[in-house]
Amino acid sequence: MENLIGLLVLAPLLGAGVLLCGGRRLDRSGPWLGTLLAAVSFALGVVLFADMLGKGGEERALDVTVFQWVPVGGFRADVGFHLDQLSMTFVLLITGVGSLIHLYSVGYMAHDERKRRFFGYLNLFLAAMLLLVLADNYLLLYVGWEGVGLASYLLIGFWQHKPSAATAAKKAFLVNRVGDMGLSIAIMLLFTTFGTFAFDPVLTRATDAGEGKLTAVALMLLLAACGKSAQVPLQSWLGDAMEGPTPVSALIHAATMVTAGVYLITRSGAVFDAAPDAQTAVVTVGAVTLLFGAIVGCAKDDIKKALAGSTMSQIGYMILAAGLGPIGYVFAIMHLVTHGFFKAGLFLGAGSVMHGMNDEVDMRRYGGLRTYMPVTFVTFGLGYLAIIGFPGLSGFFSKDKIIEAAFAKGGTEGWILGGAALLGAAITAYYMTRVMLLTFFGEKRWQPDAEGEMPHPHESPRTMTVPMIVLAFGSVFAGGLFSINDTFLKWLEPVTGHEEGHSPVSALTVTAATMVVLVIGVAIAWAQYGRRPVPVTAPRGSLLTRAARRDLLQDDFNHVVLVRGGEHLTRSLVYVDHSLVDGVVNGTAASVGGLSGRMRKLQNGYARSYAVSMFGGAAVLIAATLLMRAV
């Protein structure tokens, strides 16, 4: 079994290698090869899963060290894997959703001449992501962490000829790098504190270290999570990342990669549990982001950006849950999984819509598509119901638990967090309804595209609809399945631990409140977009709307402070380098030259003045000699 873990990672890696180096020969077969290898990976995951189910709860973890990676003095980093229930969950999600999206991409990218490379990148992503969740130490996790960042960079910028895509890719990588900096500092802190950064020794002995150190580690890990999971303040890249092809948005920027932050926090639970201050920071980030993302999601007219706001917001929920400690870890992961299903489904639906609408992304130019794309409409609709938490569907179960747990945090903090989560649920209902209404209902507001061609919406090919249908099943049933008998809780508990929260409000009250806010949200959206016609160009809107359209001005802040400031800094440094650092040297050279020029004048060609110099020299010589004697 142990060897299969390595194969799990190796299969997509091999695919990436072959596809990227293979040359034109693989242009035709490449997509299918990539999909096949993703499926192989998934199959291996299932085998391992079956094997794991056959063992008792505590013995399920598998450890395997493949080889010594960097053995230097007291520093040892190995390439080793740790497969337990938590990673298993991720493996299945990643390979499962990943395979589906590979399949979807076969149709979606059919007409792209560089699709071979696209699948290579997708496989690369799968490999890196698997490495991330399977690593048995932080440094190897870091490799996967940056690896997914690279894949994300490559895929966001896949259509490189579009400057906006290239810029978005760069931005994503850079913002992620800031987070990565946090992760690497965290690893260094762990190393100096524990002398190692393997999960097992660190996590089992976490409490032996001082709280201050642990808080520092935890905060750095949080920074990393913020970068990867697009949490405030490092969330700005996610919206732009929608420049990438839609399957990418579905896989990387909705279902899997962006949830890596949640994985990191959950994985490092022992560290966070021993650093309450850091936990407070985590929940704050989560709460702020869930509202931030939701508000942004309300204002966007670009369907993918609206969904991206939603992703941010939903991950905010997860982070919030993870920050709650043992009462929340399981629910964070559960929401992560269900979110993986419905958000991927929603994105694939959006992709399907765009596919039929000549790549139009502005929802104000959609409308009334339900009859033209029935499968898309139904699967998207199920995803919609799941995300807003319609009773019985996946999102209902997972989100409800998080809101409950937030209240259970207790004290003022609990009320604030719970309130925020509830408010978030209302806004979610609002913006998702808005998306739904704008896209599938109302009159047609189709516009000709850049070439003046009117769109002819049509249902997508089978390769695209099948994954959507599968994901829709997940969106509908996953939550329910997980919640029956607390299956998911029992599955994960041996890894993450679990405590029952003691909520000041009963579970039933919370559910009721959730239902109420849901209805309110939907109702407002209906009032705004369902009952009256929607203008094709967006109205100016309130101050808040305008701010939300601009990602609550965060980008502007970044632009003014970081980009402009950075430009000024580099420009002035270039000047300093040229004039000051170089200037000192050149100045010295110039002054030697000047001195030389002046001394040269003494050599005026007159023999008599030479004689004067000699005479003076002799006088000085004599005087100096006498003086030496005198002293």
């Binding site: 060609g605 008599r608 004689a611 004067v612």
Partner: protein
Amino acid sequence: MNPVNYLYLAALLFTIGAAGVLIRRNAIVIFMCVELMLNACNLAFVTFARLHGNLDGQIIAFFTMVVAAAEVVVGLAIIVTIFRSRHSASVDDAGLLKL
């Protein structure tokens, strides 16, 4: 008379010669000033020989004279050559080589 006074005279002559080198423009005059300096040296040698009571100084004075004579030969030759090509014996006119 105290022989030391001859030394003072020698120093004076030497200084006059040196000053002449520095002041005068004509190469011949300068050269004569150098000769004056050499002769000042001779005077000093002779005086010292007298003071020390040995002959070395006096012998040296003869050597000096010979050397000075040789110097005159070479010096005058050079000065005359440059005078013929420049029609001037002023050292200040010979200023092509400079800087």
